[in-house]
Symmetry: C2
Subunit: 211 residues, 2 copies
DNA sequence: CGTCATTTATCTACCGATAGATAGAATAGC
DNA sequence: GCTATTCTATCTATCGGTAGATAAATGACG
């Protein structure tokens, strides 16, 4: 029953943070959702920072695992990026949530240092993964340039998520992504006269756990 | 003494929200900063939602005024967009702050409806302005396409601001913007072999009030 | 096996601090 | 004197966190 509770706490807390942010996360709410008392949450996570950092760490680990599987399975850049994008889309789809580390980034000044560090790790992991993916297509390109492109993709998708969430309209996200493709920031997946490397058109299966 | 206090409250509250978000904004903190009691803040802004909405509304109005002046004065698209970008950069420059409506978008679920409405207005105003700017350069393009491009630029810049803030490093913002230019999402301002309409290179004078 | 000690996990009850908000007295300017 | 503004004082609700008790496993040892 022990690790079950710890896991249940994290399972309950994560969507709460993704919905309302770190500041709005309360031990009491989590405890109520899990069906225990807030003191029990403190038993597993002594401080709020501990809980927040654990959430962000697990979040990053799961994301990295999913993304790395993409890199291994699907060697097509276009469809990899499509699935990558769809993960962020999935968060909006689930009750207009945001990427956990995205919303934490907005709250940076209020975060305990240990949480901040995990947010940094998430960003790093995304840039690294995107760089890896991009450099596979254009191995000759300078690393600095590829990293810049990776950062641009990461930032742009995060921004689309933020703006779409602000409007409470997932269509805004889709429009932004479409415009990124039209501008050449993302590879076009099907019809229009894009540029950049092309890909097939399908959306494929699951979009992960709603990152 | 009356309107002075009201203005002083807003002047004090705005940077607080930009730094730590709506949830972290407290009547007591604002009152202390202004030099009055919290009850006096309630006199001018009965509820927190009133204060938040007033902040967002004024923020949008000031932004629109500044941007419209840009459209009138400087007819060059590249330098207009450069100044537009620099406004968002300026927020980071001032104690790693974010666009007020950007951070409010992240907190959407916690916002009173009146604040939410003002956030929407800000987004609309930005898309409208960017569309106006873009359509001046390419009048033939379909309105839907221009709006998509405007949304892309707005989202991308907001995302760059969010990621850079999360890292606490304004250089991240600059890198992202540079990569946007390289990708063709934003017009290149000077040296490289960009595409799109070109512009001169200067940064010009003030970047507004740190939007 | 049985006994004793320890650990695990949770509870109840509370702490000081702070949140937004309100009522009504005091003060100031016209 | 009336109105606009600010004050004092207080309320209720919630926050993260702690203290202390307890029941149930777990393990050590004779």
């Amino acid at each position: 029953m022990s690790m079950d509770t710890k896991q249940a706490i994290m399972d309950a807390a994560r969507p709460m943070v993704q919905s309302r942010g770190y500041n709005a996360l309360s031990f009491r709410d989590v405890a109520t959702a899990v069906g225990v008392k807030s003191a029990s949450v403190h038993y597993h996570f002594p401080t709020k920072g501990d809980l927040g950092a654990a959430l962000a760490r697990l979040y990053t680990e799961e994301a990295v695992a999913y993304f790395d599987a993409l890199l291994a399975d699907d060697s097509d850049l276009g469809s990899c990026l499509q699935k990558y994008t769809d993960v962020f889309r999935g968060a909006l789809l689930k009750n207009n949530r945001m990427c956990l580390c995205g919303i934490l980034a907005a709250e940076r000044d209020d975060l305990p240092v240990e949480v901040r560090a995990e947010v940094d790790r998430f960003t790093d992991a995304n840039i690294r993964w995107l760089s890896q993916l991009l450099s596979r297509e254009t191995p000759k390109t300078r690393a600095k340039e590829i990293e810049g492109r990776a950062l641009a993709i990461f930032s742009a998708i995060g921004g689309a998520q933020l703006v779409a969430r602000g409007r409470g309209d997932i269509a805004v996200f889709d429009e932004a992504i479409a415009a990124y493709k039209a501008a050449g920031l993302l590879p076009a997946t099907s019809n229009p006269a894009g540029q950049a490397p092309l890909a097939e058109k399908r959306r494929t299966k699951g979009a992960g756990s709603g990152r």
